[in-house]
Amino acid sequence: MNLTSSGTNIRPRSGLLAHVAAGGKLALAIIFVFPLAWMFLSSLRPVAEIFQYIFPFSLWTVVPLHATLDSYRHLLRDEPFGRYLANSLIVASCVAAFDVAVSSMAAYALARIRFAGREALFFLVLTVMIIPFEALLVPLYLIVRWLGWVDSYAALIVPMVPRAFSIFLLRQFFRGLPRELDDAARIDGCRDWGIYWHIMLPLSRPVLLSVTLLTFQEMWGSFTWPLVSTNNANMRVVQVAVASFGQGDGSPRRSPSCCS
């Protein structure tokens, strides 16, 4: 039995209609991709050329006349962009690693161990998941300032761990694993830590990986919290650096395609 529908709702159409539909799909793809392609191509231009060929619209508005890596060289050599990249890399990796460790442990207990207050704890996870982070900006800043963490990696990393969503996701996955495995392991002398470490984690590798990647990606792109909790240029992350380009000094905005 085939349960996945594979477009059977689209009946074979006349040749003309099919072409129109294909053209529409392609046009949409261009709308979604073209700005990004333009950004990348512009990043290959020498500075003088960036705004030179915009009017009138022609092939050279899109394609650089002289391709060069000057912009990238400038970013890395004349501006501490390497430092910003490293900061983002450190923060995103640390949050992702700590989060997956802390969240998977909590998720295991919530899914498998019976203890008083378990339901209340799960409710806590759901509550934190719903609270919009933006509403916590001011108090979090005050707490971090009180801890003396402003302008430090601790400020960028510690308050982000754990992510309630990671706990929720992993708990759902752990609950789906067969309980017989736990029982078998217990008979073989495993305790909770052994079951978590030798059974749950190896069986959940794909989920653990996607949770880690998801956290990394979100942290790499995170902007508001780093903007608020750091002032020192040494602690600046990529997104804050990109947001400050072309502001005030009238210099042309570099195409930051390397920071996606």
Partner: protein
């Protein structure tokens, strides 16, 4: 005797680090925000006087706050239908999975992968006035140069357009997972009965996607009310407060003017709006699964 833990204790040890984190950086800040909102708090004066609900009443007479609330709602009203409709259309278009279709899927999803800051910066350049690439393109069609983000009627709709360009891929993905769960037999039966593509959509696809649509609508609305990054990057609330939104107002009050009490009162308004939406979502989803 071997040293061993009662299962209860093991449970507590497993959740301890997570609970500490959730309390210290989730629940305690939330309570603290409420405390701060009752005080006239700034960073200079260490002894913030208690002012009761004065920060809230001040908010009620703050014209910028009402502008921000109106703009945020308007933004949600523009973004949510647009992103949902585009996401659904994309999902329907890329449904039969072939190699070419996979390429299309990847294209539609591409802006999701780029960071919000970069996407916003990119649109700022593309729609630069009066000499940006978009105006150059419009000139081909003999359209006079537009002010875009510097025009107080165009700025907010353009930010909504930008956000739906950035996020429609996610909505597409959610709808695709919904489409996968519709049994193919339904379409086969409808085809045998002579129902065309449009009628199949109206009688099978759309009703069966009902739950997913509700989910998408609520999630997108919540996200819309949290809009901040593109406003910060492109317009800083301008021109003439035309793109002043709740979170940007909160950010400016709290971190530029250091009116922490006012900012915390604003945080609570934001919280109430979003909790209301989340409760609505929960109710709707639960009601659906029962009905």
């Amino acid at each position: 005797m071997r040293w061993s833990l009662r299962p209860e204790t093991a449970g507590y040890l497993f959740v301890l680090p997570a609970v500490l984190g959730l309390l210290a950086f989730g629940i305690i800040p939330l309570i603290y925000a409420f405390v701060v909102s009752l005080h006239n708090y700034d960073l200079v004066n260490p002894r913030a006087p208690y002012v009761g609900l004065a920060n809230y009443t001040a908010l009620a007479t703050d014209r910028v706050f009402w502008t921000a609330l109106r703009n945020t709602s308007a933004y949600a009203l523009m973004l949510v239908p647009l992103q949902t409709a585009v996401g659904l259309s994309l999902a329907l278009m890329v449904q039969p999975s072939t190699r070419w279709i996979a390429l299309l899927r990847a294209s539609y999803f591409m802006p999701v992968v780029v960071s919000y800051v970069v996407a916003a910066g990119l649109w700022e350049i593309l729609f630069a006035a009066p000499n940006g690439p978009m105006n150059s393109l419009l000139a081909l069609a003999h359209v006079p140069p537009q002010l875009f983000f510097q025009d107080r009627h165009q700025a907010l709709p353009l930010i909504a357009l930008m956000s739906s360009w950035k996020w429609s891929g996610i909505t597409m993905l959610i709808y695709l997972s919904g489409l996968h769960e519709i049994p193919a037999e339904l379409y086969e039966a409808a085809g045998v009965d002579g129902a065309g593509g449009l009628r199949q959509f109206g009688n099978i696809t759309w009703p069966l996607l009902h739950r997913i649509t509700l989910f998408v609508l609520v999630v997108n609305t919540i996200e819309a009310f949290k809009i901040f990054t593109p406003v910060y990057v492109i317009t800083r609330g301008g021109p003439l407060n035309a793109t002043m939104v709740l979170v940007f107002h909160l950010f400016r009050e709290g971190f530029r003017y250091v009116h922490l009490g006012d900012a915390s009162a604003l945080s609570f308004v934001l919280l109430v709006v979003i909790l209301t939406l989340a409760t609505l979502q929960f109710r709707v989803l639960r009601g659906e699964s029962q009905g």
